[in-house]
Amino acid sequence: MVNPLWLFALSLGAAFLLPLVDRLGRRIALALVHGVTAAWLAAGIFWLSILLSGGEAMDFGTAGFMAPLAIVLRVGLAEAAGVTAVALTGLLAASSLTRSLRDAPLGGSMALLMVLMGLSGIVLTRDLFNLFVFLEISAIGTYGFLGFDDRKPALRAAFKYMIAGGLASSLYLIGVIYVYRLADTLNLDIAASGTALSGPAGTAAVFFLLAALLVELKPFPANGWAVDAYETAHPGVSAILSGASATALLLALWKILPLLGPAHLSLVAASGLATFAAGNLVGARQDRPLRMLGYSSVAQVGLVAAVAALARLSGLGDGGSDFAAMVAGGLLLNHLLAKTGLFLLAGAVEDDRARGPLSPLALAAAGILSAALVGLPPFPGFWAKWRLVRALADSGRWWILALVLGGSLLEAFYVFRWLGARTKGEAGEAPVRLGIRGAGPVLAALLLVAAGTLGGIRGPVPDLLLWAPWAAAAVLFLLDGIPGRLKGILSAAAAAAFGAAVWGRLDGLGQFFAVMLLGGGALFSIAALRKGGARRGLYPLLSAATLALGAILAARTPLEFFFAWETMTAASWLLVLRGRDGRKPALSYIVFGLGGAFLLMAGLAAGGWDGGTAAAGWPGLLVLAGLLVKAGALGVHVWLPGSYAESDDESSGFLSAALSKAPVFALFALALSLGAALPGGPWTSRVLGWLGLATALGGALYAVYQEDIKRTLAYSSLGQIGYILLAFAAMDQAGWTTSLYLALNHFLYKSMLFLAVAGVIQRTGTRNMYEMGGLIKKMPVSFLSVLMAIIALSGVPPLSGFGGKWLLYSTLIGKGWYLEAAVAFFASGVAFLYLYRLIHSIFLGQPKPSQSEVREAPAALVLPQLLLMAVLMAVSVFPRLMLDPILALVGDRFPTTLAFEGSRLRSALGYWDGTLTMVVTGGVFALCLAWMLANLHNPQSVRQFNIVFAAERPLRPETTHYAWRFFEPYRKALGFLTRERAERFWDAFGTGAASVGGALRRLYTGNGQTYALHVVLYVAVLYLLLGVL
């Protein structure tokens, strides 16, 4: 192994000679600096490779002696990783720093060299006093580095930083000297092996060491000085501080853990968790990106420290130190790369006052970095967080679990809020290109992808099929330059190929849903061909979301399931974000999506999926709650309408028709894992039933008042999912049959509606129904499609929708849920309102002169609609086409009440013969049609305004088309039911969290002395707590 001392000699030699080298030119000097960093990186990687292939950790003495006489450096796995991380961050930051370093005095370059060497020294040394020296080298390097390019705010921040740093180093020195006095050594390993430090004096001495390191780790509330620095320094400096410096300091903390007693460890855990929570709360209030990243930084570091302490404190997790290394290490790696990349990226972007959207590559990097930071799959943070949550659940630390997940959710909120704003940019501004400054962020993003993917494939998710979404997204993203239509076909083909690959391993339920989920993805990929052009981003995301849905079906373990679930959430969120006004809806989509996912995660981790006794209890209920959030049950539905409305039209269709079935599938899978029962007992079923019913009614009522065609459909989807939940909750043969039947039907007619509406919007250029009218003559196929779809949706015979209604009422009355049945009846009635309004306002009534040139929708929309119409017709005439498979799926888990006699389906209460109904209706209709035609004498078509209008000519179509606020009397009568209580509740909730964050951030007054006061008070309080513990 390379002796690390050579590297120190190299660094110092280079630093000392730098003033001389600089006379040859600054470029050469900078090349030397980066070269030295590269040498560190090479050494780190070399050590890692040796150690990972079974090499032993090695100690290196100085001056020909070993411990205790001399200082010893150690190269073990953690040290090698730390050195690699530090050097890597230094090189990543180089892309953004180089230009500034060239223009600034040489001190900046020297400071960079010193900081990186100091941090590596912190990582490598095993001597407590030597640790102090390296802490000071990196601190003084940092002080110099903060102000190197002379930005005024950074100078102010640096002074505050120095005050706090000075306090910390004094504390550390006091600790070191008393450790020496008591343990008679400065070597960590020797000190840890003895018992000299276990008395009260030893505890106090170690406390000082610990307090100093904790302060250096920027704990809440003693971290204002650090956040100010993060915000104001050159982004490259912030990146190194947040990435490399935090890594080294955490490793220092890790090193002294063996010296700590249980009381110390509790302090670390408590302080870390408080920092995590407070950092994220305050971060959520922050609108300046760099400062926001600063808060996120301190929060993440707090979490890592807490995990390390908890692991040691009580053997959290299975394997003790291995667990801690994996989880804390994984979180740290994730934080390191993501935060470094984000600081560099945000710095580059925010520096330029450029307000435009990001260029595609920058956007991809920003997306990857943000997603990684938040802990989405497949990045290292995801795997680490899963293990953490699992361990916390196993050991029953629910408060910590809730805190970790809540904090992560907050973090997701503000990071994605920033990302959303950056993605969209401001209208009319040129896209922001990063140029060379993009190298660092892009490289960090690539490393994250590589680390996460490797960690996943070689770890808990070796099944390559589950990685298909990511592969598809990557491939299509790389091909994003090629014509969009080609990508659409590729995307559809990918869905088909995935379906073929996965079909064999799915059970009946999986196959049933695969038809909807994968078929839906393919369908809407084809529909997307309606527009030419590259349509950047659409196809990769659509394909990823589709395949992720497939992966959900194919998942075998809870982790695999959750992996696919989060993949689906992430991809669909980006689809929403891609919409023109998708920024706000996408934010609430992802926040609720992740909120649901975290509930799911907690439940899964606690064994809510294993079908064991835990699953029947509240872990199962947690899973259920998570799924309900994703399904958009009333109360947590607020994310749904905006997302469906503002995403691209084909994406909306995909979300509503296909993706909304994913939670339904998961509900069934959950119930099946418990032997066709719900967790929590019979009350769950009753409550779920009412919840579904409320969703059905609420969705329908809200849909009635919308002017926006897509919002109408969105609320309609909400309502339909409500029926599916209601029927599912009945937990008997009829109920499940109904639920599955409704799901498939909903897929069919909601696809038709969204396809038709996409065509209408494309042709008219508006989503407001009252701005349309009379389109039946221009778009007859779309009209027919909508007509059939609304007949099916409303449940009017003879189309297949009636089957759903019949099954539903049979179920409810048979089950004894009478009031539920009555409310369901009411809700179904309300559906007529918005459906009639939909078709009337768009296709009937007065055509607008401005829309006289409108044509039928493109073939890419019409053909799928024709196909769906044919399918709908077929299953209406022959209901058994759908019901036989469904009945077989439900099987004999429950007492049988439904059975076919020929074409007649019999329930406990009644019967329904779909085929005969269709024949009779068809016959009667034909008869009436014949009668009408036979008696139609001399029919004349008249022009548009030829109507009897109180003997006057109507003024304009715009004023004659009755469409705006169509159901105003209804609002007058029943408007009190739809006052957006859930929205107000969540708004109030958000305001509450924001005001907590707002109150907390008042601590950060900007006064360096106050920050110092926080530091000292923090230490004092910690000491008091130590006494209590």
Binding site: N3, L5, F8, A9, L12, G13, A15, F16, L17, L18, P19, L20, G61, T62, A63, G64, F65, P68, L69, A70, I71, P105, L106, G107, G108, M110, A111, M114, M117, G121, F129, N130, V133, E136, I137, I140, G141, G144, F145, G147, F148, D150, I174, Y178, R181, L182, D184, T185, A201, A204, F207, F208, L1013, V1016, L1017, V1019, A1020, V1021, Y1023, L1024
Partner: protein, 233 residues
């Protein structure tokens, strides 16, 4: 008021943590095992009469190298911060700088040479008597400080200072490497013969290292003083 209370509480809290430790550990009766080992082995190992120096330059020489690096980093930082450009000082010399007093100017002329000599003496005898490279370097820098006080308008040759600093630093690192290649480890002073304890030429390369450190520290502190004067380019 609130603030004062909090400051009081903070200081009181710190006192509560610190005083038991400072008062309670008392005065040791005898050095511990490590100290004893140093006291007994250092003369034999390195031939240095001053055990502290043996520790500072060899056993814990890595600390000292780091310490040099700290000073170096601070110098670099100060130098980068306080340039004329950044301080917003134009080329024009401020006219109203008071001239130094006659006493100071005369005394400086007398003392400068003595101070430099004394500094050199201190770091050359670092292995024998109290003192060493840092102390010597500081004394040398004092001479320069006197010069600056006596003639505020004088300019130190920044290039020479920087070259001395660089070369002595690099040479120090070179001595460390020499220890690794010629003796038993990085910074091992046993590159040169150890000599007789107590004589000037003894203790291996310790005097050489201390001289380099003295030069470097002298140059660095002079540089800092010069920079704080605020008229560096």
């Amino acid at each position: 008021m609130m603030r004062r209370v909090l400051v009081f509480l903070a200081v009181a809290g710190l006192a509560a943590a610190l005083l038991p430790l400072a008062l309670g550990t008392g005065v040791p009766e005898a050095p511990g095992a490590l100290a004893t080992a140093y006291l007994e082995d250092a003369p034999g190992d390195f031939g240095a009469a001053n055990v502290v120096t043996a520790i500072v330059v060899s056993y814990r020489g890595f600390d000292t190298l780091g310490e040099v690096a700290v000073l170096f980093a601070a110098t670099a930082g100060v130098g980068a911060l306080l340039t004329r450009k950044r301080l917003g000082i134009g080329d024009a010399e401020p006219a109203d700088k008071p001239a130094a007093t006659e006493i100071l100017v005369t005394a400086t002329g007398l003392l400068t040479g003595l101070l430099v000599m004394f500094g050199v003496y201190i770091f050359l005898h670092g292995h024998l008597t109290p003192g060493g490279g840092f102390q010597g370097g500081v004394v040398i820098a004092t001479a320069l400080l006197l010069g600056l006080l006596a003639r505020p308008e004088s300019k130190l040759s920044h290039g020479i200072l920087s070259a001395v600093e660089s070369l002595s630093g690099a040479a120090y690192v070179g001595m460390g490497l020499a220890g690794a290649f010629l003796a038993w480890g990085f910074l091992d002073p046993r590159v040169l013969p150890l000599g007789r304890i107590g004589s000037l030429v003894s203790a291996g390369s310790i005097p050489v290292i201390y001289s380099l450190i003295g030069l470097k520290v002298g140059a660095e502190l002079s540089g800092i003083l010069d920079a704080l004067k605020g008229d560096r380019e």
